[in-house]
Symmetry: C2
Subunit: 150 residues, 2 copies
């Protein structure tokens, strides 16, 4: 089966736009004295919380010893809370604290302010159409992913 | 400064569409007996080649010992070639072999075939407009990134 040229081009644009935005965010993190692994770990804890170290390790592909150092720093900086599960006291869980949530939001704002430079070039109508068509495509692949799970 | 709602929505769509496509690709990799770290490493070598282990380590945030195991497997499977730099025999470099390039292309095809399910729902006109508007935004942030470097 041959892929449509339109698909290749749209995939290229989505993939590389995302890459540029991540690259920009990464630079801003460094300016703020944060590192990418610490930020990614914070992001992943927010996504999975409450989460234990082995689940986090499975998702992150960072060596356990490195991950422990990163999480220790996040806890020390009061971005993440480490506590024992009320259901099973042997299990240690992680969750993002208010300060960590604020930090994640700030980073998202930085990313979106950069993207907005491009969005501003579009007319209101183009912006509306872009959202409409992206939503159509997104909802379709979202539903296909959900079907696969079921 | 307040962000436009349109920016937030477009960022959300781009970010999550990319995430869904990566998630799908990851599942397909597992079905093919590949692992995500091996695939990511192969991808990064293709991006940076010729590249030495310490450059690769800096980009990947994987522990050196883990990265060595991953690269050994890629070399063993003839996806990657390891050779001494002709300029400096002390430097060991990596590059992707033909079989590795084929593997990367196949994975990209799988990703794009999935995306095409959604693209097919759009009319020819919607597809054209989507490419046009995404290009406008992409070119703008691409140029802004280039300016930052210069």
């Amino acid at each position: 089966m041959k892929l449509k040229d339109e698909t290749k081009e749209i995939d290229y644009l989505i993939r590389n736009m995302n890459k540029l935005l991540s690259q920009y965010t990464k630079e801003q993190l460094i300016n703020k004295g944060l590192t990418l692994p610490r930020f990614k770990t914070l992001w992943m804890i927010a996504k999975l919380e409450p989460v234990n170290m082995s689940q986090l390790h499975e998702e992150m592909y960072i060596a356990n010893s490195t991950l422990t150092v990163i999480v220790d720093r996040l806890v020390e900086d009061e971005l993440v809370r480490r506590y024992r599960s009320p259901k099973d006291r042997r299990v240690v869980l992680l969750e993002v604290k208010a300060k960590g949530k604020e930090c994640l939001e700030k980073i998202l704002d930085i990313r979106q302010l950069f993207l907005e430079e491009g969005i501003k070039l579009l007319t209101k109508e183009e912006q509306g159409n872009l959202i409409k068509t992206l939503n159509k495509v997104y909802n379709c692949i979202y539903e296909k992913m959900e079907e696969r799970k079921g």
